[in-house]
């Protein structure tokens, strides 16, 4: 190694630190202008079509894929798991939505089918169809933040709304109901 190369190598840590520092600076400036909110959950998929997927069903029901979702849209797509406490808590709200006649399709996220079936027996089954995403791959395509998470698919198969976290009466009243008027 020539002395020059050696010096360049030893300057590399400073270079990395400088790049990192400048990035922080940009973000802090944006934070100050109110152009950046670190606490917002990213919504990369809202406004885009339903990603391509095909999932097996929760026995005895059959699974579904993108084409079937498009055929039956508009509908709510709800990701849940038996191991998640807020999922059990939002069950009441989902049952209420079911009574309003809104089709809700469920996707079991990273969970054993048996456990999910037992969960539905325990908490009531608000879903018309339930598919199982045991490895959680489809969830990645949706940009899932965690469970429970709910998506509204409109007639054209475009994702119009995403809610990360449990549905509550106030969420349904303030967010979902106005959107339902527009998109159904």
């Amino acid at each position: 190694m020539t002395p020059l190369q050696r010096r360049a190598l030893l300057l590399a840590p400073f270079g990395f630190a400088a790049i990192g520092g400048s990035a922080m600076w940009v973000l802090l400036e944006r934070l100050r202008d109110g152009a950046y909110d670190p606490h917002a959950v990213p919504d990369p998929m809202v406004g885009k079509p339903v990603p391509h997927f095909a999932l097996p069903g929760l026995q005895p029901g059959s699974g579904f894929d993108t084409a079937e979702v498009l055929k039956h849209a508009p509908l709510l797509l709800n990701f849940f798991a038996s191991w998640c406490l807020p999922c059990a808590q939002e069950a009441t709200e989902l049952m209420r939505l079911k009574q309003r006649g809104l089709p809700i399709w469920g996707v079991v996220y990273k969970d054993k089918p048996d456990a999910a079936a037992a969960f539905l027996k325990q908490n009531g089954n608000p879903y018309r169809r339930v598919a199982v995403d045991e490895p959680g791959r489809v969830a990645i395509d949706f940009g899932l933040y965690g469970v429970p998470e709910t998506y509204l698919v409109d007639r054209q198969g475009i994702l119009r709304w995403r809610w990360a976290g449990g549905l509550s009466p106030s969420v349904v009243r303030d967010w979902l109901t106005p959107l339902l008027k527009t998109y159904t």
Partner: protein, 656 residues
């Protein structure tokens, strides 16, 4: 009056720190013995001023002086006394003052215990610590003063975030901060060495105990934090790859690498530039960890609300500290020539491998933690979750664990792999048997791999003492006599390595955790993994500053009563916030973990977990920290003038 005294002591500390930053460094440059001799006194003076200042803050909190803005915002008269004291560091201003206090204590410690250091080196180390202190104290005094008054004072304060009102978290920040800031001492030694242009075995020997102390504290601090997340958040997990958790893991990984590469500097005078860079990098990561998390850029449950203006101040300070040290490094490091040479297969070789792997893990975690930030710079918003970290960190752990046990039995300089591996055949065999038995029992490859790795690490850690004692090869009484003659560091390192094995076993055990979320009516029973959880009653209760809903849960195993647990939901009235208070029953080998969620139609929603080996995760970390502390007790790290130490190093080098 008392807050003004605290404010004054803080201002005094700034002045002393400024003197500490300038005089000793100038003295060392000019070879002026009087200026150099001033260093310890200044460091101790700054420490005493800050101790007084912090005592004033605690006093104001204890007597409920709500005319102090910080106390009014974060305390209330109904808060228990313990949390009034620990609440002083549960907010931005107080935690930064604590940060400065611990940095001053580090400087004071070098002043007190560094009498045997050559005086230019000591002056430079204390001077560098003074520079860092002066910057952050100036920030505290001008932009984040905890003693600001509020007039008229409110009748009662706003109270503290209820999640922080917990004994585990009360002591987590001081321990964690001591670990973070403890790495300022190796950092100061590295900068001093760059200024002097010299790194030798003696330098390695001086740096190691400070690194070891900081590392042990950081290990303990991370374990406390993870334990808190486990029982207080009530999510059933122990590590969530949250940016704040990662921020503490990064300096730990770099610090672990530093700890090991400093051994090579001490014993073999190699890896000098690398060790200096690690010392700078570890402290830089600690700084970024504490401050970027606090600047509000990262989305995290732990972030205090901080104005972006303060963030800019902090960023400028970080740029000054980290930037100037890296520039100094780029210009002065080429002068450090290694003198010791070694073959790839040798103790040094495996320590290099250890460094490469630890730094790779560090880089991977750093990438995952900062990637969302960098993508945000380019206007894209995304988050990186646990799947990324699990997919990238676990594969790197496999070679790391494999090399760990092998490295400990390799001799220095040049070694043959085969004889070393032959010394480990019994550990390898036992690990394979454990992995096979587990695989047969639970049909889960990752779990089996984890238990196999744990057995390999624990037994491999014992291999070095066994080899040194010639256990099973000489009569037992001889081995016992040899045991008494071994340096403490041998036991310390064996225990610390075994501690990692215990933690890995705990993590592997947690992959077998069972959980159930059920709605149970009072009088009914839920079943999980052979345990019966009977909900006896649901009732209301009240605490000093909260009201609670309590579930009485009786747990039986095959009809035999184990315990009655009381998971509850606490509603903190002033902050209007609800927390879940988990109830855990442990027998050391498994935790029964219960959380009370909401209530529905007269039924309680319960989260029930059976977590095998969960306590081992934190117990292993405690063992690691104790191993580090035991190494600190080694005579070799404490005795001898520098010249004598260097001779000793040669003797030990020959003996090993």
């Amino acid at each position: 009056m008392i807050p003004e005294l605290g404010h004054f002591a803080l201002a005094l500390a700034v002045a002393i720190a400024a003197a500490q930053a300038v005089l000793p460094l100038w003295g060392a440059h000019e070879r002026d013995p009087r200026l150099m001799a001033a260093a310890p006194g200044l460091a101790l003076g700054q420490m005493i001023a800050l101790l007084a200042s912090y005592a004033c803050l605690i006093w104001s909190a204890v007597v409920d002086d709500f005319s102090v803005y910080n106390i009014a915002e974060n305390s209330s008269s109904t808060k228990p006394l313990l949390y009034k004291i620990t609440g002083t560091w549960g907010n931005h201003e107080g935690s930064i003052l604590l940060w400065c206090l611990i940095l001053a204590v580090c400087g004071g410690a070098v002043g007190l215990f560094g009498r045997r250091l050559p005086s230019p080196l000591r002056a430079r180390v204390i001077g560098v610590l003074g520079c860092v202190s002066a910057g952050f104290l100036l920030f505290t005094l001008t932009a984040s003063n905890p003693f600001t008054r509020l007039w008229p004072p409110p009748i009662n304060g706003h109270d503290m975030n209820p999640l922080l009102q917990d004994p585990g978290l009360a002591f987590h920040p001081p321990v964690l901060y001591s670990g973070y800031i403890g790495f300022s001492i190796p950092f100061a030694f590295a900068i001093a060495a760059l200024l002097e242009g010299r790194v030798d075995a003696a330098w390695g020997r001086w740096v190691r105990p400070w690194t070891l102390a900081a590392w042990s504290l950081l290990t303990g601090g991370i374990a406390l934090g993870s334990w808190w997340a486990y029982y207080e958040l009530g999510w059933g997990g122990y590590w969530f790859w949250d940016p704040v958790e990662n921020a503490s893991l990064l300096p730990w990984l770099a610090g672990t690498a530093l700890l090991h590469s400093a051994i090579v500097v001490e014993k073999r005078e190699a890896l000098k530039i690398w060790t200096i860079l690690l010392a700078i990098g570890t402290f830089s990561l600690s700084l970024c960890g504490t401050f970027l998390v606090r600047s509000g850029i990262l989305n995290s449950v732990h972030a205090f609300a901080v104005s972006p203006t303060r963030g800019v101040f902090i960023l400028v300070l970080l740029a000054l500290v980290i930037g100037s040290s890296l520039v100094l490094f780029a210009f002065r490091a080429p002068a450090m020539a290694p003198t010791g040479i070694f073959a790839p297969i040798s103790r040094e070789g495996t320590l290099v491998l250890n460094n490469v792997l630890l730094c790779s893990i560090c880089a991977v975690v750093l990438t995952g933690t900062t990637y969302p930030l960098f993508s945000a710079v380019f206007g894209e918003k995304l988050s990186v979750g646990p799947p990324y970290f699990e997919l990238t960190v676990f594969p790197l752990c496999i070679p790391l664990f494999a090399a760990m046990s092998v490295g400990q039995v390799l001799p220095w300089k040049r070694a043959a792999l085969w004889p070393a591996l032959r010394r480990l055949w019994w550990a390898a065999l036992a690990a394979a048997v454990v992995a096979a038995v587990v695989a047969f029992g639970v049909h889960h490859a990752l779990t089996a791999l984890g238990f196999g790795a744990a057995a390999w690490l624990i037994l491999g850690a014992l291999a070095e003492p066994v080899q040194r004692l010639r256990l099973f090869r000489v009569p037992f009484s001889h081995a016992r006599a040899r045991a008494a003659a071994q340096p403490m560091a041998v036991w310390g390192s064996a225990i610390a390595h075994a501690g990692l094995g215990v933690t890995v076993a705990g993590i592997a055990g947690m992959t077998l955790a069972m959980h159930l979320i059920v709605a149970v009516a009072p009088g009914h029973t839920a079943h999980l993994d052979g345990y019966d959880f009977t909900l006896l009653d649901l009732h209301d209760a009240s605490g000093p500053n909260y009201t609670a809903r309590v579930a009485d849960l009786r747990i039986t195993h095959h009809g035999q009563e184990i315990a009655t647990l009381h998971p509850m939901r606490r509603h903190f009235t002033i902050q209007n916030q609800t927390t879940a208070d988990t109830a855990i029953q442990t027998n050391g080998f498994r935790d029964l973990y219960t959380v009370l969620g909401g209530e529905r139609d007269g039924k309680a929603i319960l989260r029930l977990n059976v977590n095998p080996l969960a306590p081992w995760i934190w117990f292993g970390a405690l063992v690691m920290a104790c191993g580090g502390a035991l190494s600190l007790a080694d005579r070799r790290l404490r005795i001898g003038a520098p010249a004598r130490r260097r001779r000793e190093a040669a003797v030990y080098g020959a003996a090993e």
